[in-house]
């Protein structure tokens, strides 16, 4: 999936897969923060977005 998106010009850090058990609240929060930081560093996504104009 990551490769496909990269091929389409979407950065790897925009797709994230993880496995978290229902007891791992701390891990959940860590992963959210991690993804959020990475995506913020990349800025908004411009590729593939439907153009309404």
């Amino acid at each position: 999936m990551g490769n496909l998106l990269e091929h389409m010009g979407i950065e790897r850090d925009r797709i994230h897969f993880s496995w978290i058990s229902s007891a791992e609240a701390t891990k959940f929060v860590d992963v959210v923060k991690e993804i959020s930081n990475k995506v913020r560093a990349l800025g908004p996504n411009k590729k593939l977005v439907k153009d309404y104009n």
């Binding site: 797709i15 229902s22 007891a23 609240a25 959940f28 992963v31 993804i35 995506v39 996504n45």
Partner: protein, 66 residues
């Protein structure tokens, strides 16, 4: 970049990560408000179509968690 501009479409398994998100709430942990959760019955329900469609609808990232 403004907080409002970030959207992470998150597909969470009902039995695993969705529960973790519930527990994070019970434990009052704070985290960025960028994620929008779509509850799925199992990560096996996930299809590449959903990922592409999320990007098409303007998602800045997609997160799939089992």
């Amino acid at each position: 970049m403004n907080d409002k501009d970030i959207k992470i479409v998150s597909f969470l398994c009902n039995w695993c990560s969705y529960g973790a998100a519930d527990l994070a709430g019970v434990s009052r942990m704070e985290y960025p408000a960028d994620i929008r959760v779509i509850r799925i019955p199992c990560s096996g329900r996930m299809s590449p179509k959903f990922v592409l469609s999320a990007f098409r609808e303007g998602a800045d990232a997609v997160w799939v968690s089992g």
